[in-house]
């Protein structure tokens, strides 16, 4: 296979495999948040700041995979 097609293959694999981790992490986090709301409905007031900050941190890991894919596509292919 020539290098150009390997670049696209690598970019696709990078983003695809890199979406598994944040998907699991975000699902766990939101699941636990919903569980705590179900157990104690007043805890939905605490969701304001900490919840979204935590979500953004976990999301950033998937964004690193996206950035790697973009670098591969636009700079090497």
């Amino acid at each position: 296979m020539d290098p150009k097609s390997m670049v696209y293959l690598g970019a696709a694999l990078c983003m695809g495999l890199g979406a598994i981790g944040p998907g699991l992490g975000l699902g766990n986090a939101v699941g636990k948040a919903l569980e705590s709301i179900g157990r104690n409905p007043e805890s939905s007031k605490a969701m304001g700041g900490t919840f979204f900050v935590g979500l953004a941190f976990v999301e950033a890991i998937g964004i690193y995979a996206l950035v790697t894919s973009l670098v591969l596509i636009f700079l090497k292919g």
């Binding site: 950033a60 964004i63 690193y64 950035v67 636009f74």
Partner: protein, 273 residues
């Protein structure tokens, strides 16, 4: 009609990712491989839009300063600014303690600059200058300078240098026996490397998180809004939902950047337990 819609879609994506580069010294790259190392090119569209954002922020700040009131009215801009200031000041007082007000101007200024940069992406002909990795790396380097400077100012030069070996003095008390003369230098080297790498990882993670989110959001919005040409026959308000996702992500990323800058400053300035 299918072909020209696909062409408009790819043009939208190309508009989202391309930069208008000028070479003020005249050294345009001659070949493809030279372009990565060509440091004399300037992204003119990013630069112009950062000037526009700076002008907007400075003009608004001067206008609001001209009509400051002790008790701001209900829906005024001063009230909005105080809301944002109070949000960061609450967290700063929790993290730092007394002299949190020294660090507030930098954090809130960074917040507004990043917020304007992200929100420009939602307006049709504006360009979100934070989609350019040069802007985000510049902002991350500025945060690095901020927390390094504040750490050095609070603790002195040697205080800042010795904070690189930080967990070792506490750990050294818990070790006993003959092995500790071998373990302590090993742990020392390990933790110094770890802390130095952490400082660089902070710069990279700050810049790449913001760049990836905004560039990714811009591309995804271009694709989704291109697809709504087909789907808005069925469901008319569809572009509004695409736009709202972009709005929420922009504001959250601006808040994350400023909050992390504040946390790093607090970590550099604070005492160790």
């Amino acid at each position: 009609m299918q072909a020209e819609n696909m062409q408009k879609l790819s043009e939208g994506i190309r508009h989202a990712v391309e930069f208008h580069t000028v070479y003020p010294l005249g050294h345009a790259p001659a070949t493809e491989t030279q372009s990565i190392w060509n440091a004399w090119g300037v992204h003119l569209d990013t630069l112009v839009w950062t000037w526009v954002a700076m002008a907007i922020l400075i003009v608004f700040a001067l206008i609001i300063r001209g009509r400051l009131k002790m008790v701001p009215e209900a829906n005024s801009s001063q009230n909005f600014l105080e809301m944002i200031w109070d949000f960061f000041a609450g967290i700063a007082h929790d993290l730092v303690g007394e002299d949190a007000d020294r660090y507030m101007p930098i954090v809130v200024s960074v917040f507004f600059f990043v917020l304007l940069g992200n929100l420009f992406g939602l307006i049709p002909t504006f360009i979100p200058y934070t989609r350019d990795v040069n802007t985000t790396v510049g902002l991350a380097l500025f945060s690095f300078l901020a927390f390094t400077y504040f750490g050095m100012a609070k603790k002195g030069f040697w205080g800042w240098v010795t904070h690189f070996m930080q967990p070792v003095p506490q750990l050294a008390h818990t070790l006993e026996g003959g092995m500790k003369y071998v373990m302590i230098p090993l742990l020392f080297v390990l933790f110094v490397l770890l802390n130095i790498i952490e400082e660089f990882a902070r710069i990279i993670s700050l810049s790449m998180r913001l760049f990836g989110n905004i560039m990714g959001k811009h591309i995804v919005m271009a694709i989704l809004l291109g697809l709504t040409v087909f789907l808005s026959v069925v469901f008319e308000p569809l572009p509004i939902f695409v736009w709202m996702i972009g709005l929420i992500a922009s504001m959250v990323q601006a808040m994350i950047f400023a909050l992390l800058t504040l946390a790093y400053i607090a970590g550099a300035v604070g005492e160790h337990h």
